[in-house]
């Protein structure tokens, strides 16, 4: 009897935590999204789809969705493209490539808040490193964080700077799985470098690319920390993304119903993206690492 219970006893602690802090909360969120509540009042009246209607009619939500989408669409290809290019050049196990790998990898394990603070200084108008460099070159000061488009660009830059090393490590793992003979054959044929990269490296590393695509798109849609530290969604909403709006609505405006509805919509968007991509992955991947 005890023998039969053994696996349950081992699995139970983890499942208990997952149930209480992941699965029950999903149900709670859906429930709260149909109600009106401010954390304090004793009743939570049912308001049906009002919260969703309110969101879908608000300019704020569409702005946040658009900014999140723009951030994702610009930052993900930059991250993956740069990472693949750099990874192919860091394959060799030399001391130098190890130093560079370490330098590139370091930001991905470093505090995002600290990175946000440091880059707030880098891009500050009067005392920042960027404008300091520009002045050395005889150019004028740029108001990086005050210009709507530049501010979003800065966030994309900082996010790329932080995540690049992680992408590179994943690509290195993928590149090492490519059979050597393919490159030997290509070099016997006198394949030029770019040709080899385009015809062999890029297609064969596709499974890794799809993996990174899933991870980085989901990541990009959930960006919060650098936005909260660096711009607070400003100037004029230009960097206001979905999770930022969620935090503001839930924890500074205390509109639990609306915040929950936003969380549910974010959840649906991300699950849809993940499912869409796993179908695409299923169809397109022809080489298993």
């Amino acid at each position: 009897m005890l023998r039969r219970l053994t696996p349950y006893l081992f699995a139970l602690p983890l499942l208990g935590f997952i149930a209480v802090f992941t699965y029950v909360p999903i149900v709670t969120s859906v429930n709260l999204s149909f109600r009106e509540w401010d954390f304090l009042s004793p009743t939570k009246p049912w308001v049906g789809l009002d919260n969703y209607r309110l969101l879908l009619d608000s300019r704020e939500f569409w702005n946040a969705l658009r900014v999140s989408a723009v951030f994702t669409v610009i930052s993900v290809p930059i991250r993956l493209g740069l990472a693949l290019l750099i990874a192919t050049r860091l394959m060799r196990e030399t001391g130098v490539s190890r130093v560079i790998r370490g330098a590139l990898f370091l930001p991905s394990v470093t505090s995002t808040v600290a990175i946000g603070v440091v880059f707030s200084w880098v891009f500050s108008t009067d005392w920042g490193m960027m404008n300091g460099l520009l002045q050395l070159l005889g150019l004028g000061k740029v108001p990086w964080m005050q210009d709507p488009q530049l501010a979003l660009g800065v966030l994309i830059f900082v996010n790329t700077w932080k995540q690049l090393g992680y992408d590179i490590i994943i690509y290195l793992a993928g590149l090492q799985a490519i059979p050597t003979e393919l490159y030997d054959a290509a070099s016997v044929d006198g394949g030029r470098r770019f040709h080899v990269f385009r015809r062999i490296t890029v297609p064969l590393v596709m499974p890794t690319t799809y993996f990174l695509l899933v991870v980085s798109v989901i990541d990009a849609f959930q960006v919060f920390t650098i936005v909260d530290v660096m711009t607070h969604g400003g100037p004029a909403g230009a960097t206001d993304m979905l999770v930022n709006m969620l935090y503001r609505v839930g924890f500074t405006l205390f509109d639990i119903g609306l915040g929950s509805a936003l969380a549910v919509l974010l959840f649906i968007i991300l699950i849809a993206l993940a499912l869409l991509k796993s179908r695409v992955i299923g169809r397109r991947v022809h080489y298993e690492a």
Partner: protein
């Protein structure tokens, strides 16, 4: 990494290594962080005056006046507890899923793996409510408990344990060991590299966690480093009045433990990511 790594590598198009230039590129990449550390040892007057004046005062102010010693302690306690409890819970579950065929087992494993796809932000408001109801806001438990379940660690360790020959378990059982002893004396020692990698990830992830402490903590003396740093930075948000050297000292305090650890365990970290990526 496989032994044929080097062969593969030389076959891939590589630009010639440019030694010093490459090193310079790495330093340039890290220059904002390196400069911020340097800046943290400057007096404020010297920084704004464009002169050099070395001082530890910013650290004294951050640790003393701004309570960063307390935030550091809070971060160590919370990250340490999350790592230890999280590893224990994940290893036990991984053992169950790797070694037992039991009714509902597949469903439970699916429920664990599915958490990898679930965006954590949907749990933010409900978890806040749960902890408020339990009276655990502003406590260590409130920071620790929601962070403990780690679907990825359980999944990763299960894959690893499945690679360990069952004959080892069976030999131990023959000697009269029970399941817990098999896990502790056979599986855990063999799985040490995997458990270590996961432990590092959990620790770093928790150390850098920001949104949950931001939500769950209101009392200043319960801040973690991340929340403390963000607040310090925002005390004076106007461009000209920020005490950058002080802020950079606080930022360095926040980065340094992971930075130092990074140089000791970089290999384990990289190996951990690679093992996770090539499933």
């Amino acid at each position: 990494m496989k032994p044929d790594t080097i062969d593969t590598a030389t076959a891939v198009p590589v630009i010639p290594d440019l030694g010093a230039l490459a090193l310079a590129a790495g330093l340039l990449f890290l220059s904002p962080v390196l400069y911020s550390i340097w800046m943290s040892f400057q007096t404020t007057d010297a920084y704004y005056g464009g002169t050099v004046d070395f001082t530890f005062r910013n650290y004294q102010v951050a640790f003393g006046q701004y309570n960063f010693a307390r935030y550091l302690l809070n971060s160590v306690i919370v990250s340490g507890a999350v790592t230890l409890i999280g590893l224990a819970v994940a290893t036990m579950a991984a053992f169950a899923f790797a070694r037992y065929d039991f009714p509902g087992g597949n469903l439970m494993f699916a429920a664990v793996v599915a958490t990898l796809m679930i965006p954590s932000h949907i749990t933010l408001i409900p978890n806040y409510l749960t902890l408020a109801r339990a009276g655990l806001l502003d406590t260590y438990s409130g920071l620790i408990l929601p962070a403990i379940s780690n679907g990825f660690a359980a999944f990763f360790l299960r894959q690893y344990i499945r690679g360990i020959p069952r004959a080892l378990d069976e030999a131990a059982y023959m000697d009269g060991a029970n399941a817990l002893q098999v896990l502790w004396r056979v599986i855990v020692p063999i799985s040490k590299p995997a458990i270590l990698s996961m432990g590092l990830y959990i620790f770093i992830g928790e150390w850098n966690n920001y949104i949950w402490p931001l939500v769950a903590i209101g009392r200043e003396d319960m801040y973690t480093l991340q929340v403390g740093l963000a607040r310090l930075y925002r005390i004076n948000p106007g461009e000209d009045v920020i005490d950058w050297p002080l802020v950079m000292a606080a930022s360095t305090i926040t980065i340094l433990p992971v930075l130092l650890g990074f140089f000791l365990v970089e290999r384990h970290l990289v190996r951990g990511i690679m093992m996770g990526a090539v499933k």
